[in-house]
């Protein structure tokens, strides 16, 4: 296989990953690293570097639309980015010292957990909507647009959300993923922010989080242009296509199929890590 064929196949695979990821809401990044490692035989470190870059592209692209529609809570995003970027730096430094076999196992486990978090039915939150003093002090409360006009909401659980965001950032820096599932969990369940605001604000933060570790990866030589270029362009095109058909498609069965693919890939990553075939 020469470089042209390699780049085109990689772009094609990444387009499919981005398309399915955005269509199902599970994120294109989650299957990229397993796809690169298991199918294309790319070294784990290059795969993680390329995945980080594609995560920045898709999240920034999608965030530009969500921010304009007024769903994202920019203050919540900015505040929590202090935690995610610090975590990302820690994760990126840690990545240099963790052997790729252990990374593969950790990746597989995190993949299983985030698939579970994304696919399980959401629990209803307790209806206690008193203002929280810390959130008020930080002016985190917001409103989101609905057909019947803006709906106001209060933000809670600021310290807890902050801590989980640090962990989300660390996983992002260590594994090259967006950690979207964990970020949404922190905002939706701990901080009790409306779901649509949580998902779009998570998306808004992912780019900055990934940029914090991408600078370190780049300077360490983990970002190979031959791998990163087709992956970045492919995922970007794929997720744009996915966003276009999202409104019309029935995604329930697709989520299940894609979820099954994720589980198989996760188990394969764990097996490879344990039996030393990365």
């Amino acid at each position: 296989m020469n470089l042209t064929e390699f780049a085109l196949l990689l772009a094609l695979g990444s387009t499919a990953a981005g398309f399915l990821g955005s269509l199902t809401g599970l994120g294109g990044g989650v299957v990229l690293v397993p796809l690169l490692v298991l199918v294309f035989g790319v070294d784990m470190r290059y795969a993680i570097g390329a995945s980080l870059i594609s995560v920045i592209a898709t999240s920034s692209g999608a965030a530009s639309a969500f921010v304009k529609q007024g769903f994202s809570n920019v203050r919540v995003g900015m505040f929590l980015e202090m935690a995610t970027t610090t975590g990302a730096v820690a994760g990126a430094f840690l990545a240099a010292y963790v052997p790729t076999q252990s990374l593969a196992v950790v990746f597989g486990v995190v993949l299983l957990i985030s698939a579970y978090l994304s696919l399980r039915p959401r629990r209803a939150r307790p209806e206690d909507d008193k203002p929280n003093w810390l959130a008020t002090r930080l002016r985190l409360d917001g409103a989101y647009p609905t057909p019947d006009g803006p709906v106001n909401y209060h933000v809670h659980g600021v310290p807890g959300g902050f801590v989980v965001m640090f962990i989300a950032g660390a996983l992002s820096g260590l594994l090259g993923i967006g950690s979207g599932a964990l970020k949404v969990l922190a905002m939706d369940q701990i901080m009790r922010i409306p779901f649509k605001v949580s998902t779009t604000t998570s998306n808004f933060m992912i780019g900055v989080t990934a940029a914090a570790s991408a600078g370190i990866y780049l300077q360490r030589g983990y970002i190979d242009p031959v791998v990163a270029m087709p992956v970045m362009l492919g995922v970007l095109v794929g997720s744009l296509l996915g966003a276009m058909v999202l409104v019309r498609a029935k995604v329930r069965w697709l989520r299940l199929v894609f979820g099954a693919v994720i589980v198989i890939m996760a188990l394969q990553m764990i097996a490879n890590g344990i039996f030393g075939r990365t």
């Binding site: 035989g41 530009s64 921010v67 940029a211 030589g221 791998v227």
Partner: protein
């Protein structure tokens, strides 16, 4: 008297435009580099199954810039990638300015902290080997 600051809605619009421009620009540069790469080295063998770390010019911001100016294919791709990494950084820098204009000092400090962390990650690590 001039109006101070933007409303949250105006800020959202500007942030949205900034992100869109950054992604589009970096994707175009990376695509141009990718076309150059295929024209120049299209028939060579890729070697990404073995990790060797990228050569030093492709690791530093200045090295990439030099290679990109010479229209070295990998340099151009890497330059597009750097533009993409800088897009969220530009967004944070813009937010510092926006909160400053709104005289929201708490958020000026919060966004400055994030910006400093991002800038620090771009500076450190030059000397670090794998």
């Amino acid at each position: 008297m001039l109006r101070q600051g933007w409303t949250d809605e105006e800020m959202d619009q500007r942030i949205g435009n900034l992100l869109r421009t950054g992604v589009l620009l970096s994707a175009l540069v990376a695509l141009a580099g990718g076309i150059l790469l295929i024209l120049h080295e299209g028939s060579s063998k890729p070697h990404d199954e073995v990790f060797s770390g990228e050569p030093s010019p492709l690791r530093s911001f200045l090295g990439v810039l030099e290679d990109a100016v010479r229209l070295d294919p990998k340099g151009v791709v890497q330059f597009g990638i750097i533009l993409l990494v800088l897009t969220p950084v530009a967004r944070v820098a813009f937010s510092v300015l926006a909160f400053w204009r709104a005289r929201d000092w708490t958020y000026v400090i919060i966004t400055l902290v994030v910006l400093l962390i991002l800038v620090a990650t771009m500076m450190v690590g030059h000397h670090q080997k794998i």
